[in-house]
């Protein structure tokens, strides 16, 4: 496991360079005394951007790891069990580093946005886990049954497209601020459904990965 | 030691013969160390076990001997032994094929002897 941790830590470090860079920019801005208002705006957006970056990063690595890193590590004499553990260690690392960066920014800039952000960290954690697990399941499907993976990706893209469309319609109508605040409130209260969804998606993901890994053949 | 290997004979036999030839030619002297199995293996790009087998033949014949922990050395009197051995096998190795070829060409015994008589040794 030691070499697994070494490999994935290094891998995470390289994958997180963008995120760390963003944080560095933020820190520089703080140091060189940007106005309070600008900082507030940054605190309200930058952490969420970090989260989006983490999700995209994890989605990218999912297919990449299934087609490249899993067979590569197996070919270097790692056990299937450790490959799975290493992969989840890597994901945990990304999620915790992202959350830590977010928390850092919010703590550095006290204000209303930061308070909301800090209180919604558990919610964000659940969302990140769900996103990562779903992405990983898609990756697994994609590797094992290309057509099924493609169908799921198309459906998801359709879903996202619809949501984006709805939102833009809402924005043009004039954002329903009250509804948004309400939604944020519900999410921040962390209903059990969210926790359950995170747990289920994670379990599904691990089960799927194990099914695939158990009999996987190394092809490079 | 720098002859090339051929396919006509087992490699370990060739290794043994090459060392013998080097002793006859004075390239390797008596009581001198011969290259190690691994050195021979690398020189000829052959498996060390094969080289060891060739060297082993010479040890069996008393041409080389082993000094524990140091390596293989040429025995005293090795040259004489090799000469005796090669003389003993001269008829079998060189005369037999000559006679077989003469027979298939229809060269008579007398003709052959005359031919040999005309040559200088």
């Amino acid at each position: 496991m030691k070499r697994n941790i070494r490999f994935w830590t290094r891998y995470t470090w390289e994958g997180m360079e963008v995120n760390l860079g963003m944080t560095a920019v933020f820190v520089l801005l703080t140091l060189f005394g940007a106005s309070h208002l600008q900082l507030q705006q940054l605190a309200a957006t930058a952490p969420y951007l970090l989260c989006v970056a983490a999700i995209i990063g994890m989605l990218m690595i999912n297919t990449g790891s299934q087609t490249l890193y899993v067979p590569l590590l197996l070919s270097m004499g790692e056990t299937r069990r450790n490959v799975l553990l290493g992969f989840h260690y890597y994901r945990t690392l990304i999620i915790s580093v992202t959350l830590a960066l977010c928390a850092l920014i919010w703590l550095a800039v006290p204000g209303e946005a930061s308070a909301i952000g800090l209180s919604s960290i558990p919610t964000i954690l659940c969302v990140l886990i769900i996103a990562a697990s779903l992405g990983s399941i898609i990756g697994t499907l994609f590797v094992k049954w290309k057509w099924l993976g493609t169908v799921v990706i198309i459906l998801l893209c359709g879903g996202f497209g619809g949501m984006v469309g709805m939102t833009s319609v809402n924005i043009t109508k004039g954002m329903d601020l009250a509804a948004a605040v309400e939604l944020a409130g519900v999410l921040a209260a962390l209903p059990w459904q969210l926790i359950a969804a995170a747990a289920v998606s994670l379990a599904l993901d691990v089960a799927f990965q194990w099914l695939l890994l158990r009999r996987q053949e190394v092809k490079l | 030691m720098n002859e090339r290997l051929t396919e006509q004979k087992s490699i370990y036999l060739q290794i043994g013969e090459m060392i013998e030839t080097d002793i006859l030619r004075g390239i390797l002297l008596e009581e001198e160390q011969v290259p190690s199995t691994n050195e021979l293996a690398k020189l000829y790009t052959i498996n060390p076990a094969t080289a060891a087998k060739g060297v082993g033949l010479l040890v069996d014949d008393g041409i080389l001997y082993k000094r524990r922990g140091i390596g293989m050395f040429v025995s005293r009197g090795a040259r004489e032994k090799i000469l005796a051995k090669r003389r003993a096998s001269f008829a079998e190795n060189h005369l037999a094929p000559l006679l077989a070829e003469a027979r298939s060409l229809g060269i008579s015994r007398e003709e052959l002897l005359t031919m040999i008589g005309e040559r200088e040794l």
Binding site: L72 | Q8, N47
Partner: protein, 293 residues
């Protein structure tokens, strides 16, 4: 004390790629795994190193199973033949990164040897695999195998992309490492001629089955090419294991494999010649092809 596989079967889509392969790899030997393309060499090595699951049978190292066993796996290195075609996930990988991952995962990695070999091969590690030629990819395979220091090391077609000079260089490096460490090597190859003298043991895999597993020199010494007038040849080899007959007019040539105590009847008017490993291999594994023709 050995890497042992017992009755390994591997089936892909109803086709038996390996049919009940039993093999015992002893420590401290160089084995050659030779066979035609598609004979199942890579599949066998993949199963021996637990990179692919077998459809049946078991692989053990010193009595312990190899599958999902860290202790056994850490003593085995299967340095795969690298492909850089578009489907390969590896095509975008840089040589440097690949070696770094290998050095992380092989516990006994010899960094000094790695540097020496990279310099010797004059490799540009900043290149991606897609931009490397076959020779460079072979060199990477060789570096991983030698530097891993694993007691059981398999090389899959390490010389396929190398020119004659580099092949000779590789075999000398292999012998050097072997002499220094006494590790067990299994080299799979279909380029047999230069390999023949390096391999202590030869394993001939043909259509998923092991045809021969023997001391290379003993195997080569047991083979003879007998040629002459057809009737004379037939008489000279009567009762022997005869392969690959070739007939031109009245003349005939055959390859025979002698069991201990057997010999060709040389009182007949025939030529009896030694055979190289490559010719012996062709005589054993090339027969069906000629019947087709």
């Amino acid at each position: 004390m050995s890497l042992h596989c017992e009755k390994i079967v591997k089936t892909y889509g109803g086709k038996d790629v390996l049919q009940s392969v039993t093999l015992d790899l002893q420590p401290g030997k160089i084995y050659g795994l030779i066979g035609r393309n598609g004979a199942g060499k890579t599949t066998l090595l993949s199963i021996l190193s637990a990179q692919n699951p077998a459809s049946g049978g078991a692989v053990t190292l010193d009595g312990e199973p190899v599958w999902e066993n860290r202790r056994s796996l850490s003593r085995i290195c299967f340095s795969r033949e690298l492909n850089a075609n578009a489907e390969s996930g590896l095509s975008a990988m840089k040589g440097k990164e690949y070696l770094r991952i290998a050095s992380t995962y092989y516990e006994g990695w010899d960094k000094a040897l790695e540097e020496r070999l990279v310099k010797l091969f004059n490799l540009n590690l900043k290149k991606r695999f897609a931009k490397m030629n076959k020779g460079m990819l072979s060199m990477i395979t060789i570096i991983v195998a030698l530097c891993s220091k694993a007691p059981y090391t398999f090389l899959d077609e390490p010389v396929a992309g190398l020119d004659v000079v580099a092949r000779e260089q590789f075999y000398k490096l292999l012998l050097e490492e072997y002499a220094a460490s006494g590790r067990t090597f299994v080299v799979s190859t279909h380029i047999i001629e230069e390999a023949a003298d390096v391999l202590e043991e030869v394993i001939i895999l043909h259509e998923g089955k092991i045809l021969i597993e023997a001391d290379t020199q003993a195997f080569v010494d047991s083979a003879r090419h007998v040629s002459g007038k057809a009737e004379e040849v037939d008489e000279a080899v009567r009762g022997l294991e005869v392969h690959y007959p070739e007939v031109v007019g009245r003349s005939k040539g055959v390859t025979v494999f002698l069991k201990p105590g057997e010999r060709v009847d040389e009182s007949r008017d025939v030529s009896v010649q030694p055979v190289s490993l490559q010719r012996a291999f062709v005589a054993l594994c090339g027969e069906e092809e000629r019947h087709e023709a």
